[in-house]
């Protein structure tokens, strides 16, 4: 059976995880796990009007570092520091007072989230809540401003390990950032590398 075209990332995640099938015995000890992700994400909400855009890029780099406490219990608590580029564009806006204005702007977010993770065989599901600092840089008429706001939001991910040793894992993760206070949502995919920093 071949995967449908609409889920290539899921298919890739599964394919990458196949070699690990034989190696996965499941965790049996407590560990502090460090996990890093590098990937790409795009904004799915709010819907952006492209009417005034001269140029635009939806999404960009997505990075994160996660600290997770793994034990024999089914749920593992984690905290994560993340960064995601959400949108960038150059727009031309006609105004009554100032004439045509060109605005070159970008939106990114730095997040600090926490929650539980659930390991299901090769796959890990995570959900969490946390703080998102929405970062704006915008240049209009040669003046650049940097502004930010703090918002509460949600986090969810599903990931799988493609390669696993006793203390080191490589894999793929799909994630959703839901900054509910800011009305912003982002979906992303990235490669993960994880290791057990402490095992007991």
């Amino acid at each position: 059976m071949s995967p449908p075209a609409t889920t290539p990332a899921l298919a890739a995640a599964f394919a990458l995880s196949l070699p690990a099938l034989a190696q996965a015995d499941g965790p049996s000890r407590s560990a502090l796990e460090l996990r890093a992700l590098a990937g790409y994400g795009g904004m799915v909400a709010p819907s952006v009007s492209h009417e005034r855009e001269l140029w635009a890029r939806n999404g960009g780099a997505m990075l994160s570092a996660t600290l997770l406490y793994r034990s024999t219990l089914p749920l593992s608590p984690f905290v994560e520091l993340g960064y995601a580029e959400l949108y960038a564009s150059r727009e031309r806006v006609d105004t009554a007072e100032l004439g045509a204005l060109d605005a070159e702007s970008s939106l990114a977010t730095v997040s600090f989230v926490g929650g539980p993770a659930l390991d299901l065989g090769l796959f890990r599901l995570r959900g969490g809540i946390g703080l998102y600092r929405m970062l704006v840089e915008s240049t209009v008429r040669g003046v650049t401003i940097h502004t930010a706001e703090n918002d509460l939001g949600w986090f969810a991910s599903v990931g799988g390990d493609a390669y696993r040793t006793e203390r080191f894992r490589l894999g793929l993760e799909l994630r959703a950032l839901l900054v509910s206070e800011a009305g912003t949502a982002c979906l992303g995919v990235g490669l993960t590398a994880a290791g057990d920093a402490l095992v007991w």
Binding site: M1, A45, A176, E181, A185
Partner: protein, 443 residues
């Protein structure tokens, strides 16, 4: 072989995630718009009603049919439109306590001036319920007189129907004129609408602190409004309430963060108010108030000390322009905290700019303000109110939205004004239980 079951297991998760994003984090709404009659209704082919005729509707009305929706007595206000209001059409508004309902109606003469029709919408302020209303003015000789611009000699009645949503009106609505409004020359009670007319969350048809809501304010029951003034990074006074631009009040993916960080060019390029309007400059708001409304008062709630001097200067300029146009418009600079108060005094504005203070009664005299505006949580303070009124000052409490509290303050304090998010309700309650305050100079 494993891929099929795995795909089935994971796809619901992905769908749930995407659905969560779409439902909890979707783009800001554009707000509900009031329903309108197809093709403009009967007003589309009607002749205009003389501006002088709108005042005949002011007062209280007894509701016959339709009392279950609007209560047994409603209060009516009107705007004349025409000259001095940039040619806008006049309106008749009905205000009820039940469901905090209000009805905003345009007027037109039909059949060669022998019939007068009122058409528009009703709305419950406390919910999103709304619908269409069509009423005919009776008796026929009164309608004819109003269409001719003369005073009717018989008591007015209104007969017609209201509907739900955009359905054509079908439920009967009938009103009979009950009593003239509580109005006397020199003794005025002011209904001051919060944030220009209503808050964005009230969804009255326009965003708070917009030019559009200023134009609506009188039809919502206000004769004065409060607006919030902040400065951009390059010193342009604009209307905005919160410290930060956020999706609560604005749209624009880059419109986030402290207002003071944005230049005016950034505001124009990046920000729109929640229902799509521009963030107005204070100057545009003052021009709109003077040229397109008959509002009698404007309370500039200055949020930062640095904005006091430019706001007071613009207030003076537009009061002069209003006076030159032959109309009264009192524009007062609000001194809501000690920093703003000290900036007003330090800028040498005492005695030369009209002000309002929310601080203490002594501060009213210290800054020579005409208005004392305490928060309602301080209670009605009848002795303080009477002492200030005896000294020729005006007292306006903020912000009262609940009927029981509105009634209590109207009865116990007899204030000159109330600031409210429910101007129609305050209008109604004043007509029902209020007492005209002692004679006072215009604020």
């Amino acid at each position: 072989m494993l891929l099929g079951p795995m795909r089935l297991a994971l796809r619901p998760w992905l769908l749930v995630l995407v659905a969560l994003g779409a439902t909890t984090c979707g783009p800001p709404g554009t707000g509900s718009r009031h329903p309108t009659f197809p093709d403009g209704g009967l007003l589309a082919g009607a002749a205009p009603v003389p501006a002088t005729s709108f005042a005949a509707f002011r007062g209280t009305w007894t509701v016959g049919a339709g009392a279950d929706a609007f209560g047994e007595v409603v209060a009516a206000g009107s705007t004349a439109g025409g000259a001095g209001t940039a040619g806008t059409a006049g309106t008749v508004s009905l205000f009820a306590a039940r469901n905090e309902a209000y009805v905003v109606l345009g007027a037109g003469c039909l059949a060669g001036g022998t019939e007068l029709v009122l058409e528009g919408y009703w709305r419950y302020a406390a919910s999103s319920d709304t619908g269409l209303v069509r009423l005919f003015v009776g008796p026929p000789d009164a309608a004819r007189a109003l269409c001719e611009g003369s005073a009717p000699t018989t008591a007015l009645s209104l007969d017609g129907a209201y509907g739900e949503g955009s359905d054509l009106p079908g439920a009967p609505l009938a009103l009979g004129y009950r009593a003239r409004p509580k109005e006397e020359p020199g003794r005025t009670f002011h209904v001051v609408a919060h944030r220009g007319g209503c808050r964005t969350s009230d969804d009255c048809g326009a965003s708070e602190n917009s030019l559009e809501v200023l134009r609506l304010a009188e039809s919502l029951g206000a004769d004065a409004v409060e607006i919030d003034v902040r400065l951009t990074a390059d010193g342009v006074p604009i209307l905005y309430h919160d410290d930060d631009f956020s999706s609560r009040l604005v749209v624009g993916e880059y419109c986030r963060g402290p207002v003071e960080a944005f230049t005016f060019a950034h505001v124009r390029a990046l920000c729109r108010l929640r229902f799509g309007e521009q963030v107005p400059t204070l100057e545009a708001a003052l021009r709109t108030m003077v040229e397109e409304t008959t509002l009698r008062g404007l309370w500039l709630d200055v949020k930062r000390a640095a904005a006091v001097a430019p706001a007071a200067e613009l207030a003076r300029k537009y009061m002069d322009l209003a006076a030159a146009a032959g109309r009264h418009a009192s524009i007062v600079t609000g001194l809501g905290d000690r920093d703003v108060f000290d900036a007003f005094v330090g800028a040498g504005l005492v005695g030369s700019a009209r002000c309002l203070t929310e601080l203490e009664p002594e501060d009213v005299h210290a800054a020579d303000c005409r208005i004392f505006a305490p928060r309602w949580t301080r209670g009605p303070m009848p002795e303080t109110v009477q002492a200030l009124q005896a000294a020729g000052r005006i007292v306006a409490f903020w912000t009262l939205d609940e009927m029981d509290f509105i009634d209590a303050f109207l009865r116990e304090a007899v204030p000159n004004a109330l600031l409210t998010n429910r101007p129609g309700l305050v209008f109604h309650r004043f007509q029902m239980v209020g007492t005209l305050p002692p004679p006072a100079p215009e604020p």
